[in-house]
Symmetry: C2
Subunit: 119 residues, 2 copies
C-alpha cells in the first residue's frame, strides 16, 4: 500500500454500490473509494469525522436538518456524532477519509454493513 | 468552515505557487489546497504523514531514492519521517491532508515557509 494510487483504476475494481474499499492510509485514517448509487442507511460515527470528496456523479448527504449536494470536485466533512445518510440518483464515485476501523454503517449496523478490505 | 467546499472555487483564490490554504478539517488534520509550480524545498514532517491528491497538472514528489509522478486523479502518501521535495513543470493543483499545525516546510524552514491560513 505504499505505491501511488490511481483512483480511476481503483474505482474500476468496485463491482457494486456501498461496498467500499481502502486504497491507503494517512496517519490513523483510511483512504477509501466507494461507488454510491441509491440510498444508504441513516447512521452516526461517534469517534470520527467523515470526509467525502466526489470525483464524478452527484452525491446527496442527507442530514436531519439539511441536505448537502456535492458534484464533482466538491467535498464535505460530516462532523463526528452527526447522523447522516448518503444517497445518489446516478452512479457516483467518492473518496472517503475516516479513522481506520470505522464501520461503514456506523452505529446502525444491518445488512449494508461491509467488512473493511483493501484493494 | 462547515459548508461544502468547491475545490475549483478555492483554487481560484490561490495567487501564487507554494502558498497553501486550509479549506476544512477532518479530525486532527487540515484539508489544504495548493498551487504547485517549480521546485519546493527538501523537508521532512516527523509527526505526520502527508497526503497528496493531484486534481490537475502533474506533480513529481522527489524522494531520496525515487521519484513519484502523479497526474490528475492520482494520490500518494509520504510517510512521516520521509524526506521529500515536490516539484512541477506545469501549474498543478493539489489537495493535501496532514495534521493541523504542520509547517509547509517541515523541519527545514526558510523563506518558503508560509503561515497557516484559511480560505
Amino acid at each position: 500500500m505504499n505505491d501511488k494510487v490511481n483512483l480511476a483504476e481503483k474505482f474500476a475494481l468496485l463491482d457494486e454500490p456501498y461496498n467500499p474499499a481502502t486504497v491507503g492510509y494517512v496517519n490513523d485514517a483510511k483512504i477509501v473509494v466507494a461507488l454510491i448509487e441509491g440510498e444508504f442507511v441513516w447512521h452516526t460515527h461517534d469517534d470520527t469525522d467523515d470526509f467525502f470528496l466526489v470525483m464524478d456523479g452527484e452525491l446527496t448527504i442527507q442530514l436531519r436538518d439539511d441536505d448537502v449536494v456535492l458534484g464533482a470536485g466538491e467535498l464535505f466533512v460530516v462532523p463526528r456524532g452527526v447522523e447522516h445518510c448518503p444517497k445518489a440518483d446516478v452512479p457516483t464515485r467518492v473518496v472517503l477519509i475516516e479513522k481506520a476501523g470505522t464501520p461503514n454503517t456506523g452505529d446502525t449496523g444491518g445488512e449494508m454493513t461491509r467488512a473493511e478490505r483493501e484493494i
